[in-house]
């Protein structure tokens, strides 16, 4: 039975079909769940429905979504990048150090941070391809060294502040609601979308992630593509780090290290799988939104830290259950 057969029949059937398609799209479900949790937050605490809330929701979502972009690409390509947090922190330190409360240095910072991200990404990719050990372990090792270097180079106490105009370009509120970071998103999101969905490179990433051997024999330069995903991931993390410096105004060593895991959770909740070859950036954005709303809800509930931790863990398990159950052996 194909689509055409059902199309003419009762509208109820259409609904069923739509429902089926909806449940098959992790991004759609993640958005729906976000809306649900958002509504729940508001119901529990009606005062929470204010400009601040909406604004910072958008701000945090965008920041998380940008820092998860690289991870999305790497995971689709069949890898895993644990160095996102360390690269972000390094970029943030570099940004506040270089800007040192002065404006007009954005381009210089951008170029140098992206270069740094690319170098770390290249090391990741190169070692993953050459050492041939699981990406998780290799990138973790590289990430540790990036963290240690931050320390060695700043003596543990990085100096300087991000430039005021730059800070403003991240956190300014349009109409008191929309944070100006959306301007960055307006450039960044389409680039990622194009890269993954509308470029030959993106398609190659999907093929490599799905079946490396087949991709190789089909003429894809597999190692090149794998290394490129890590390089791009490093650059995107570095970019996220720059924005992070704007968000935080100043940086510390390892300030964004938690993003290594939070971004991974956002990506996975957004429907990208560990096995590679499957996933979309739209899903990741939805996952980032969901994680942000969830964190807000937990704060709204005002539970003690222990309960908050337990609930947080349980909810991650629940979210994983929605999409990330691997197939049963018996069908």
């Amino acid at each position: 039975m194909t689509l055409k057969d059902t199309a003419g029949k009762l509208p109820r059937m259409d609904f069923k079909l739509l429902w089926m398609r909806f449940t098959k799209s992790p991004a759609a479900v993640a958005y729906a769940l976000s809306a649900l949790l958002f509504a729940l937050t508001i119901i529990i605490n009606p005062k929470g429905f204010n400009n601040n809330f909406i604004g910072s929701l958008i701000l945090l979502t965008v920041l998380l979504a940008i820092s998860s972009a690289g991870q999305t690409i790497v995971l689709i390509g069949g890898g895993l990048d644990f160095s996102g947090g360390a690269v972000m922190s390094a970029a943030a330190i570099f940004t506040s150090f270089t800007m040192d409360s002065k404006d007009g240095l954005f381009l210089q910072v951008l170029v140098m941070c992206l270069a740094m991200g690319a170098v770390v990404g290249f090391l990741n990719g190169f070692f993953v391809v050459k050492i041939g050990l699981p990406a998780m372990i290799v990138t973790m090792a590289v990430s540790n060294i990036v963290s240690r270097l931050q320390y060695v180079l700043t003596a543990g106490s990085p100096a300087g502040w991000a430039g005021p105009a730059f800070i403003n370009s991240v956190i300014h509120r349009f109409f008191d609601v929309i944070p100006s970071i959306v301007l960055y998103a307006a450039v960044f999101f389409p680039i990622v979308f194009w890269l993954l969905q509308r470029s030959r490179f993106g398609k190659q990433v999907y093929l490599v992630g799905n079946n490396k051997q087949a991709a190789y024999l089909t003429g894809v330069k597999v190692n090149w593509v794998i290394i490129a995903t890590y390089v791009i991931s490093g650059m995107m993390s570095a970019f996220a780090g720059i924005l992070g410096a704007g968000y935080k105004a100043t940086a510390r060593v390892d300030i964004f290290s938690e993003y290594a895991f939070t971004s991974l959770v956002a990506v996975i909740v957004g429907g990208t799988t560990f096995s590679g070859g499957v996933g979309t950036y739209g899903g990741t954005i939805a996952g980032a939104l969901l994680m942000t709303v969830l964190s807000n809800l937990l704060t709204t509930l005002g539970l003690p830290q222990t309960m908050r931790d337990i609930l947080n863990g349980l909810i991650i398990i629940l979210l994983l259950m929605m999409y990330n159950r691997s197939k049963a052996v018996r069908q």
């Binding site: 194909t2 509308r198 398609k203 999907y206 003429g219 018996r330």
Partner: protein
């Protein structure tokens, strides 16, 4: 003894079985036939406990039974050799053969002595030359399939299910297997035998059950059917005689598109010289493992030759990786489609477009509609049966998956197309279609090099056949030399046939 009644099974939107039924009697070998995607494997897996049917009953000795796991099947005396194997590649031969069935002694510790003995006798019975301590993944496919069967037979089943067990076997192995199967039949074992090779049906089987699109269309004693009948029930069409092809296609004086001279690539390829002209189909024959695959991969640049020269399209060609070869206009289709060709989680459209994806500038804008148009065109041209082109490629049956892979390359219009045993496990009907497609390509000026494990197929499709034996060309069959007898003789290495035209032969 075993009866399946009204079995239905759907995978998402695909209906694999529609109220299929089958009866298997003890002491009989039942052929389970059907074209690709007709649901044979699904039926087997239901009996093996790997697939749960949506509706229907399984009766064993008249009693309804529920097979929910491999363990249930084992308890009921059902053993299976799967089409896609059930060995654990990182474990040894010994461990695999006895997996789930290990003999123990005191306090549940493994009984090493009895393990060693059992395995040795099993290996001998199946004339297997591998060592008990070899890791399975290091063994050639045919040995792995024999192990799979040996493992099933070792269980001393009442019901033995063999899903395309012979697809990857050599003739000598098939002989061993048939001997054992006949023996088991005499012992009263009920055997279900799935195959696409019709002569095996007549040679070995007593009963036949024929599936078409998941329905049982016909069953009865094999003696009631002719070959034509079988094909008719499987496909719903009478077989058309493929017009036997004769004569050379390349004109004298035409320069060869590809020349491979004295290629060596240890350990399998020792000294191969071969030419291919635009517009012809060159066959590569030989027993499995005589260097065919390695040679093709060397042409593609997937492995580097040790010595020799390759000229492609006039220029000297020493490709470092497949990407370079493909850029130069070579296409490659592997018969190992799951491992080397399919992108199972990606859509049908993306799979068809894959060749195009790999080629060209990486950071340009790709229109979605362009991809879809390309895919739709291929689907129409090659009559691939798909639901929607946005469905995952894994929803297609084996034969259609293979057509998809072929479509992927042909749509790219390469100058030279390499096919490594592309019709393994593809049914007669689809196979003919694929042959027609290849012939069309050759007529349009493509050079096609195809290796096949099936001699009939080679005879049917190839203009010239190079026969490989132990890494060398034992014969080049052409014109009147191209006979079945010559082919088999060269395959066994007992005969050398070299055309005069070829100066630098082996």
């Amino acid at each position: 003894m075993i009866q399946l009644l009204d079995i239905s099974k759907t995978y998402g939107a695909v209906q694999a079985l529609k109220q299929a039924h089958m009866t298997v009697a003890p002491g009989r070998i039942t052929a389970l036939l059907g074209s690709n995607g007709s649901g044979k494997s699904t039926l087997i897996k239901i009996l093996a406990g790997l697939v749960s049917p949506n509706t229907g009953q399984v009766l064993l000795d008249g009693q309804e039974v529920f097979i929910r796991s491999g363990n249930d099947a084992k308890a009921l005396g059902i053993a299976t050799a799967f089409q896609d194997l059930s060995l654990v590649p990182m474990m040894t031969v010994e461990e695999n053969l006895l997996l789930g069935d290990e003999p123990t002694r005191l306090a549940g510790m493994l009984d090493q002595g009895s393990i060693r003995q059992t395995v040795a006798s099993l290996l001998e019975r199946f004339s297997l030359k591998c060592q008990p301590q070899d890791f399975v993944q290091t063994l050639p496919p045919s040995t792995q399939y024999m192990l799979e069967i040996a493992k099933a037979v070792h269980r001393r089943p009442r019901v033995l299910l063999l899903d395309e067990a012979t697809a990857a076997l050599h003739q000598d192995e098939i002989d061993v297997l048939f001997k054992i199967l006949r023996q088991l039949r005499n012992e009263g074992v009920a055997i279900v035998f799935v195959t696409h090779r019709m002569h095996e049906v007549f040679e070995l089987c007593d009963e036949a059950v024929i599936l078409r699109s998941g329905e049982t269309v016909k069953s009865g004693p094999v003696s009631d059917f002719s070959l034509d009948d079988l094909v008719y029930y499987m496909t719903g069409q009478r077989m058309q005689e493929a017009a036997a092809y004769e004569g050379l296609t390349h004109k004298a004086g035409q320069a060869p598109l590809l020349t491979a001279r004295a290629i060596s690539l240890p350990p399998r390829v020792k000294d191969i010289t071969l030419e291919a002209y635009a517009g012809e189909i060159v066959g590569i024959g030989g027993l499995e493992g005589q260097g065919q695959s390695d040679f093709m991969r060397a042409l593609l640049g997937a492995s580097q030759i040790f010595s020799g020269q390759i000229h492609f399209d006039v220029a000297k060609a020493q490709f470092k990786q497949p990407a370079d070869a493909i850029k130069a206009g070579i296409g490659f289709i592997s018969g190992e489609r799951n491992r080397e060709a399919m992108f199972a989680d990606r859509t049908i459209a993306e799979n068809i477009f894959a060749g195009n994806t790999a080629k060209g500038r990486r950071f340009t804008f790709l229109k979605k509609s362009a991809v879809n148009r390309f895919a739709n065109q291929a689907v129409d041209t090659y009559q691939i049966k798909v639901g929607r082109i946005q469905d995952a490629a894994s929803t297609l049956s084996g034969g259609n998956q293979q057509k998809l892979v072929i479509a992927r390359w042909i749509a790219m219009q390469p100058k030279l197309l390499l096919l490594d045993d592309p019709t393994k496990g593809v049914d007669i009907h689809s196979r003919l279609e694929i042959h027609q497609i290849l012939r069309q390509c050759a007529d349009d000026g493509m050079a096609v090099i195809i290796s096949a494990s099936d001699t009939d197929e080679l005879m049917d499709i190839a203009d010239r056949i190079y026969v490989f034996y132990e890494g060398m060309v034992s014969g080049m069959l052409e014109g009147e030399n191209k006979t079945h007898e010559h082919l088999v003789a060269c395959m066994m290495g007992v005969c050398h046939i070299q055309p005069e035209r070829q100066e630098g032969g082996a």
